[in-house]
């Protein structure tokens, strides 16, 4: 037997699939969609080669895939799935049911633009639309985080104080199809970390019959939804706890967000996923040139860690929020709305502006980010915002 290599060149899809292999869930149900396909292909091969004990349902649609996950998780086992874009949209009604039934399903979502027109590349319109569905959302920057988030998500979802489903998001193609070095844990370490699935009220306990999903009208629904809301209010603590444990075990620490240069920053960018890497690289160069710029990568978007974020931004003069989706008809895009809202309670907060970028996979580079920092410097100097919501990288 060859010793398992600790470092492998993997793309994001394969990194998440590798994590799933080590987790070895009882059941995976999925349906192929670009750019999630590689993940499910790799995992299907693990099943075919007997490297996992997982039962695989290759469903006839994403709707049925998540429906099967709901049935399977309620039956009493550990369940995972993965999708992208239209697939997530097709799962929509079942997302709320999975969360409402308190089923700790873990799903990798490889972010891809929602049609129309059809486009297979990355933006966040798919998962942003699902942000209020009762699922937690972790956004990974690169294949390493795709791997680490998938393992942590199991512990987070199944935590006894939570019992809520978790989405691990990564950028389609940019992360899912780009090969990077990924540090891997030993199989046993992952196995110990995720532990055994502890079922609560499983359908397969035939001696103790339960009814899932009864008709719940105005006399009880609100109280039941309140229990779910209460659980979500505990999510921030649970994500922090699990991330700390993981950090100690794996040597890679994660928080709810990852700040860079914020100790003395006068302007800052808030951003999710792979663009955080581009932003960090830009900020680094500018800081080396003596500019007081910083950035925050929001890892955990649901629950939204408003206090921590507002604290980090308290002394900044101007903040730009980069959104890879738009809120059509809204005043700014989803992440901008959260950030500006979080700062509203402060007596003196920074000016917050919004840049919607990268729709349909439009590339964003360091010159774009440098341009945003230049705009922020102008706002910081003049105290004036010329345009609150702007579109970055679109041809006029």
């Amino acid at each position: 037997m060859m010793e398992m290599p600790k470092i492998l060149p993997l793309n994001g899809d394969d990194a998440a699939a590798f994590a799933m292999k080590q987790i070895d869930p009882d059941l995976v149900a999925a349906y192929p969609i670009t750019p999630q396909t590689e993940l499910m292909q790799s995992f299907s091969q693990f099943v075919a080669d007997g490297e996992v004990q997982t039962e695989l349902i290759v469903a006839e649609s994403e709707h049925s895939a998540l429906s099967a996950c709901v049935g399977a998780c309620a039956a009493g086992g550990r369940v995972m799935t993965a999708t992208s874009s239209q697939g997530l949209a097709y799962m929509w009604e079942i997302l709320y049911i999975a969360a409402g039934y308190r089923l700790p399903i873990v799903m990798n979502v490889i972010n891809r633009t929602l049609s129309g027109p059809i486009n297979i590349h990355c933006d966040h319109s798919d998962t942003m639309g699902a942000r209020d569905s009762g699922w937690l959302q972790l956004y990974g920057e690169n294949p390493q985080e795709a791997y680490d988030n998938t393992i942590q998500a199991v512990r987070i979802a199944e935590h006894k104080d939570l019992r809520l489903p978790v989405m691990c998001c990564m950028d389609g193609f940019i992360t899912s199809h780009a090969v990077e070095r990924v540090d891997l844990l030993d199989d046993n370490v992952v196995k110990d970390f995720v532990g055994e699935f502890v079922p609560t009220h499983p359908l397969l306990d035939i001696e103790h019959p339960v009814t899932y999903g009864p008709l719940d009208l105005y006399d009880y629904f609100f109280e039941h939804k309140m229990q779910e809301i209460d659980a979500m209010s505990r999510a921030e603590r649970v994500v922090r706890e699990v991330s700390n444990k993981y950090g100690k075990m794996a040597g890679r620490s994660y928080g709810l967000m990852e700040p860079y240069g914020m100790e003395d920053a006068e302007t800052a960018i808030v951003v999710l996923s792979s663009t955080a890497g581009t932003t960090r690289a830009t900020a680094k160069e500018m800081r080396q040139a003596g500019r007081k710029v910083g950035m925050i990568k929001v890892r955990c978007f649901r629950p939204f860690p408003k206090d921590e974020l507002a604290g980090l931004l308290a002394d900044v003069k101007a903040v730009a929020v980069l959104d890879r989706s738009d809120g059509l008809g809204a005043y700014g895009a989803p992440v901008f709305n959260e950030v500006r809202n979080a700062l509203y309670d402060r007596d003196q907060g920074p000016e917050v502006v919004n840049y919607v970028y990268g729709l349909g996979g439009r590339d964003i580079g360091q010159p774009d980010i440098a341009g945003v920092y230049a705009d922020l410097a102008d706002i910081a100097a003049t105290g004036k915002v010329k345009q609150r919501v702007r579109y970055l990288g679109v041809r006029e």
Partner: protein, 315 residues
Amino acid sequence: MPSLKTLSTRKERLSPGHRLCAGCGASVAVRQILLSTELPIVACCATGCLEVATTIYPFSAWEIPFIHNAFENSAATISGIETMYRALKKRGKIPADRKIRFLAFGGDGGTYDIGLQALSGALERGHSFTYVCYDNEAYMNTGIQRSSATPVGAHTTTSPCGEVEPGKRGYKKNLTQIVVAHDIPYAAQSTPAYYMDLINKANKALETEGPTFLNVLAPCPRGWRADTTQWVELGKTAVETCLWPLYEVIEGKYVLNGVTQRIAEGKAEKRPLEEWLRMQGRFRHLFTEKNKPVIQSAQVKLDKDWEKLKAMASL
């Protein structure tokens, strides 16, 4: 198959006190199906009359594990449960000798229409489960809207008869044939009006490995505009007109049952469709000079389907 006397001693697994209408064929069908075996059952139900009327919180009429997920995914949900059962058995978390059967319910809306894809997928994947469509020929739960199971000419709230429209246009979809095309080990048509027919078929379906299917005509006096005492008669007349033949398809082989078999052999009378139509207010408007051709064409279609079925059964 156990006798009626034996069946009467078995524990009911759908308790009384649920809120289905008087004269509803669905609740009777469910009770008969659950009585047909003593094996443990986990059930799933699509959104619809049966689900809302049996599970209004904080009550549940289900004495067995039960889940309602959504409208179109009863078959997908049960496939997840059934697969988890196998997964946990494989890992030794469920004893190897524990036998559990998996039963999915859907109305005609949840099966003929919105749930057809999920049903087809689950049948193709070969899960070991029984799917029961309780067909009351329209979306009754939402207030009598037409489905693809609604018979031609029926008045529903979305296929109303009017000055220029004769009620529902187009013939009823033949779901049983669609299911049979999946080459599953067992599929059958029945109705609770012939209770031993349904109980026998449910027993076979639930005790057969692999996907099995029952299409059960469940009369709905409310939606069909008939007296609540008439549901048995409505079911029997549907069978005796050969509108709803009783038959089963076992490993691809067609077998006619009961009165359907006797009609095929010429030992019982095949009643005219008109007799079934006359019992129901939803067809009242057809008995006019203007709409006579609708009844005639429905009879022609019925006869054609009946000949086709007989031919398949004699192969």
